[in-house]
């Protein structure tokens, strides 16, 4: 198991009262699997995804990553785990607007203090993989939405993570582009053996999963 979640609870404190965004979630994720998380809006999908590696601190419960408990880890330890093992892809692409394609992709390597030449080499290589070799000096606003999401995929991939977490990566894309992105994720999963956890509300996307999780009101639903 690459990831085990036991009795995960996340409550948001709001002045209207407590919100149980996640209510006693337990899941086991096998290494190399393609997990899809579906559920209605507000069911807690994003909260679950971002809780896994500490971007949201869960209220209670335990998370094991590579058989190590990471729920009590410090901010720095969690940051280092994300830096080393995790790639994120978000619906809004989360690119830095004043950095070029290749600069955006190099950030994870820069954070790891990888040598400059190697950064460029590896970033160029993954950009080739997502078909953007001829767009490396473009700014995000000079790219189409589909291209922007491919930059985000390249960035999630460049440091050879063991897990990629994608939160509705096709939410802003038309069906044809969505399929293209989903095919990339599937290719990454199959050829590189990277575990993918994909949050989606598209039934088509959900079909890609070999482990399907459905959430309703913060609980697992059959």
């Amino acid at each position: 198991m690459i990831l085990q979640v036991k009795n995960l609870v996340k409550q948001y404190k709001h002045h209207d009262g407590l919100i149980n965004a996640l209510d006693d979630i337990s899941i086991d994720v096998k290494r190399g699997s393609f997990v899809t998380v579906t559920g209605p809006s507000g069911s807690g999908k994003s909260t679950l995804l971002l809780s896994l590696f500490g971007l949201i601190r869960p209220t209670s419960g335990t998370i094991f990553f590579n058989n190590r408990i990471i729920t009590g880890a410090t901010d720095l330890e969690l940051a280092n785990i994300r830096q080393e093992h995790v790639g994120f892809i978000l619906q809004n692409f989360a690119l830095i607007p004043y950095l070029t394609t290749v600069q955006n992709v190099m950030i994870p390597l820069a954070l790891k203090k990888v040598d400059g030449d190697e950064q460029l080499e590896r970033a160029t290589e993954v950009l080739k993989f997502v078909g953007l070799a001829n767009r490396i000096n473009h700014l995000p606003r000079e790219l189409s939405t589909g291209q922007q999401q491919r930059v985000a995929i390249a960035r999630a991939l460049v440091h050879n993570p063991s897990v990629i977490l994608a939160d509705e990566p096709t939410g802003n894309l038309d069906p044809a582009l969505s399929l293209e992105i989903l095919d990339f994720l599937s290719k990454i999963n199959q050829t590189k053996g990277i575990t993918v956890i994909l949050v989606t509300h598209s039934p088509v996307a959900a079909e890609y999963g070999n482990y399907k999780i459905h959430l309703r009101d913060g609980r697992l639903a059959g």
Partner: protein, 405 residues
């Protein structure tokens, strides 16, 4: 790529923001640099004046004013000439050079001139005791005045004049430029004054000072002519600065009764006062600029942090620690500080160079040392303003800011 490069790319991409971020620091530093450049030149001017005057201590009779020193009336008070020997025979240290003078305002026909008795070098040579001290004539530099660039100042004529003084005979005189004009005399002609005939050996170049109206003659001659033998109206002393600050003046007062002893510093004190005032203004500005600069930098950084919430979230998502986020904003403030400081130095120096001649009637040069101080100040201001916003940035919750479109 280094993560800190992100800061540069952001700033270069948002140039108007960049400029508004450094504006208050730049203007503040510019004001200080401008004031300081002007007052540096002014300080140098004072030093040069001291240097060219030669003497920096004046011994005057009690009750005499500085004006008397320049234009003594016939009954102006005097002091015994023997005071010179008294100083020489004392154990006082720091008296490098002395020159006794007797000054009297006298009439030559219709004209009033200032007759000044001085001691030529040949006279000094006859007194072995004085020789070692090199009384007059040798080109002396004040011990404390910084070596000013030797520009051809009018004051230098005074040294020229001293050279002639070296060999002045008892029946000779030197004429100031205006005096010569008014008396209508040329070199080698004879001046008749107080029943004495004096040969004009030289007409001194115009200096624009009271010296232009003077007639210089041998001290003993002037004493005899005016009927006040053995009396002098002033002793100019070249004193060493350290000695002056260690109380040379009061020691002199002890051995020279009924005298008024002042330093040239007091004579050029208006200029020194102005410099002091400028320094005070600078200091006040410094304090104001520190606070205003820090607050405005803080304000800028605060806005910047809020604007960059999403990027902070993105970086944290990719594994940047809180510490890195903090460092990025501190680094940004250092960049703004350095750029703001350099711009402020350049602006202030230009202002000094262009405004100096109008405001202070002085040619102002760039003082490159201020670049260092500008940088130091602006970087400190930058960091001081950024500390709080940077730690806020580090605490920003990554996930709520990540989801924004």
């Amino acid at each position: 790529m280094n993560v800190f490069k992100i800061v540069w790319l952001e700033l270069l991409n948002r140039k108007s923001q960049f400029i508004s971020g450094i504006l208050s620091i730049t203007l503040g530093i510019a004001v200080i640099v401008a004031i300081q450049s002007i007052s540096t030149v002014s300080r140098e001017n004072v030093a040069r004046k001291l240097d060219n005057l030669g003497a920096n201590i004046l011994v005057l009779p009690q009750g005499a004013s500085i004006d008397d020193y320049y234009t003594s009336d016939i009954d102006a008070p005097t002091i015994p000439g023997e005071y010179v020997e008294r100083i020489l025979n004392s154990t006082l240290k720091g008296v490098d050079n002395m020159s006794p003078k007797l000054t009297r305002r006298v009439k030559v026909g219709e004209n009033t001139i200032v007759l000044t008795g001085i001691l030529p070098k040949s006279e000094i040579a006859s007194k072995p005791l004085w020789q070692g001290i090199g009384l007059i004539g040798t080109e002396v530099k004040t011990a404390c005045a910084p070596a000013a660039p030797q520009e051809s100042l009018k004051y230098l004529d005074e040294r020229l004049q001293r050279k002639v003084v070296d060999t002045l005979q008892k029946n000779e005189c030197l004429l100031g430029y205006q005096a010569a004009k008014r008396l209508n005399l040329k070199e080698k002609e004879t001046l008749s004054v107080l029943n004495t005939e004096l040969t004009v050996v030289r007409i001194l170049p115009e200096t624009g000072t009271v010296d232009d109206d003077r007639v210089f003659a041998h001290l003993t001659t002037v004493q005899a002519m005016t009927g006040i033998p053995d009396q002098i109206s002033a002793i100019e002393i070249m004193g060493c600065c350290h000695a002056i600050s260690e109380g040379l003046l009061s020691k002199l007062r002890n051995i020279l009764p009924d005298t008024r002893i002042t330093t040239i510093n007091q004579i050029v004190s208006t200029q020194i006062e102005t410099n002091r005032l400028m320094n005070k203004v600078s200091l006040v500005f410094l304090i104001i600029i520190f606070f205003v600069g820090s607050v405005s930098m803080g304000n800028f950084m605060w806005a910047n942090v809020n604007e960059r919430r999403k990027e902070i979230g993105i970086l944290r998502m990719m594994g940047a620690s809180k510490k890195i986020i903090y460092q990025l904003f501190i680094y940004k403030s250092i960049v703004l500080g350095v750029v703001g400081g350099i711009a402020g130095f350049v602006l202030g120096t230009l202002a000094g160079v262009f405004l100096g001649p109008f405001l202070a009637d002085m040619a102002v040069r760039p003082v490159y040392l201020y670049l260092l101080w500008s940088l130091l100040l602006s970087v400190i201001i930058g960091i001081a303003g950024a500390v709080i916003p940077a730690s806020m940035a580090a605490k920003i919750d990554p996930h709520t800011n990540l989801q924004e479109a």
